[in-house]
């Protein structure tokens, strides 16, 4: 065996809570195919690189028919897929650039125009399998669902509304974390939403969080993991720190599947993994079990 001088002399400080000795080898990245795509008609799958017709993709719940990769879907599409009907609430809620953060006002205006949404979450009520439910659904198109004042306010209001009306809450979570441009105000949304979740829970009401790709940062460390039932969408990235930040911190590649839904379930932090196609049915079954009429 060759003596490794580097390893011998430049040991990282030992951190006993981190079992860094037995880390599996990092996954090799697959080479991606490049292709030119006729816009609007077809899209390239970000995972397998194959060209998929848009119609085909839409009919298949936004899942790549070639490799099964779940593409991100926007907040309203998610609601369409999982609810029988939907009445929007708090649609007028919006906030500005409280900290006067450079460029943020323009960014907000631009995204509002592009997406037609005021911010990164759509809230309301509707039926899932016959059970009237309060719902919030986060939108990746709005700064990857990052949580600023509007997102936090609407989610808190959804829980308060549900508490008042004795409704269960289903939350479709998608977020990269804090909205940096709102600084401490963004951080405070974690506490605000948590407080609203706590009140809802103390009223004996059900909260199901559905963690979709990605669920990270401040949102993961608040209402995402404060629910009675944690459902994770197959393949979703779920974690506190993003994989790049972890790789920079520990200076090593992460193993394949790290922080994916399957990993989260295996480690004991998700109740069940659900495929997008079965999501409505699964939600309905759980809701009925908690909120439906008891016959026997």
């Amino acid at each position: 065996m060759k003596f490794d001088f580097k390893k011998f002399f430049f040991k990282k400080p030992k951190n006993e809570l981190e079992g860094t000795e037995n880390v599996p080898a990092p996954a090799e990245e697959e080479p991606k195919q490049e292709a030119v795509i006729p816009e609007k008609l077809a899209e390239k799958c970000e995972k397998c690189g194959q060209i998929i017709l848009k119609d085909e993709l839409d009919a298949n719940f936004g899942i790549c028919p070639k490799c099964g990769h779940c593409r991100k879907i926007d907040a309203r599409r998610r609601i369409d897929l999982c609810l029988d009907d939907f009445t929007e609430l708090f649609a007028d809620e919006e906030s500005g650039n409280t900290l006067d953060f450079p460029g943020y006002t323009e960014k907000l205006a631009d995204l509002r125009e592009k997406t037609g949404e005021k911010d990164g979450v759509v809230c309301g009520t509707g039926h899932i399998g016959g059970v009237l439910t309060a719902v919030f659904s986060m939108d990746y198109r709005f700064m990857m669902g990052s949580m600023g004042h509007t997102v936090g306010e609407k989610i808190a209001k959804t829980f308060e509304y549900a508490t008042e009306k004795s409704l269960p809450v289903v939350g479709f979570v998608l977020s990269g974390g804090a909205r940096m441009q709102e600084g401490i105000i963004s951080l405070m949304q974690m506490a605000k939403t948590s407080a609203a979740v706590a009140k809802h829970g103390e009223a004996g009401l059900l909260y199901i969080s559905v963690l979709t790709d990605p669920t990270t940062g401040g949102v993961s460390a608040s209402f995402a993991f404060e629910s009675d039932i944690i459902m994770a969408e197959k393949g979703a990235l779920i974690g506190f720190a993003g994989p790049r930040v972890i790789e920079q911190t520990i200076r090593q590649k992460l193993p394949e599947g790290f922080q994916r839904a399957e990993f989260i379930e295996e480690k004991g932090f998700a109740d069940l993994i659900v495929e997008r196609k079965e999501m409505k049915e699964k939600l309905a079954a759980i809701l009925r079990l908690h909120c439906g009429e008891v016959v026997a």
């Binding site: 809570l17 981190e18 880390v23 974690m190 940062g217």
Partner: protein, 254 residues
């Protein structure tokens, strides 16, 4: 002092850490270890003692002092076990109606494989959730860096105080500059824009009190202790339901 000067000062070598505050403020401190699940996270120091004759539970995020000490405390970056230990101690305090005092000083919760495997998100989330509905008075004092969710996990209190050259932010200025502007040299600008200094936070209503540091003199600890005792005596008189309601309103306003 510019915002960036304060950022540097909040991380300065030799700045008193949580243990120093505990030594100077808490009488007869008994450290209690472990989360009763997996391990004892030394980045979080917790225990019981007296402040001005009043029994309290004290929890601090400890960065450590010399190199070995810093490594032992993992530079004040807690693992999930740290937050679970904190929750356990808070629940014990609640049972015996003791006020809970937290000293917060962390660049953030630890980012690593073990931390993720054992549910860093869940641990912080539950710490916020349990703290915000705790049926006993709570106070958090930010004494250096208040780094993101890792700091908030111990700051969902009745009031949050901050010493004058400390910071509290959703992200480090380095992180902000590199993510938002792809330019890590703009740390000073980011420090300014994030409004993360004690004075900015007070103006935004994110903290109730800015504590003058007075060069961390003996007087500083005496005054701080006196303010804490006064605060807890006032809070102790409030029924638990009202405490929780007031806390709800405190965070609801943001």
């Amino acid at each position: 002092m510019s915002a960036y000067d304060i950022v540097l000062k909040s991380r300065e070598k030799g700045r008193p850490t949580a243990v120093k505050y505990i030594e100077n403020i808490v009488e007869g401190f008994i450290e209690l270890h472990g989360d009763r699940r997996f391990a004892d996270d030394k980045a979080v120091v917790g225990g019981i003692g007296y402040i001005g004759g009043m029994p309290v539970t004290v929890i601090g995020i400890e960065k450590g002092n010399d190199t070995n000490d810093k490594i032992a405390h993992n530079f004040g970056c807690a693992h999930p076990e740290g937050y679970r230990k904190a929750v356990r101690l808070m629940k014990e305090a609640e049972k015996f109606r003791r006020p809970v005092l937290c000293f917060v000083d962390t660049s953030g919760a630890y980012c690593g494989i073990g931390a993720e495997e054992r549910g860093q998100s869940e641990a912080i989330a539950m710490s916020i959730l349990e703290m915000i509905r705790l049926k006993t008075p709570t106070l958090s004092v930010i004494i250096g860096e208040g780094g993101s969710g890792g700091a908030l996990g111990l700051s969902a209190a009745d009031e949050v105080w901050i010493t004058e050259t400390s910071t509290y932010s959703a992200i480090s200025p380095e992180g902000c500059a590199s993510i938002l502007w792809k330019d890590s040299s703009r740390v000073a600008d980011a420090s300014e824009c994030l409004k993360m200094t004690a004075a900015d936070l007070a103006a935004l209503g994110a903290v109730e009190r800015v504590v003058p540091e007075d060069g961390f003199s003996e007087r500083f600890y005496v005054d701080l202790k006196e303010s804490i005792v006064k605060f807890f005596k006032k809070q102790r008189e409030i029924p638990p339901e009202e405490l929780i309601e007031a806390r709800y309103r405190r965070f609801r306003k943001f």
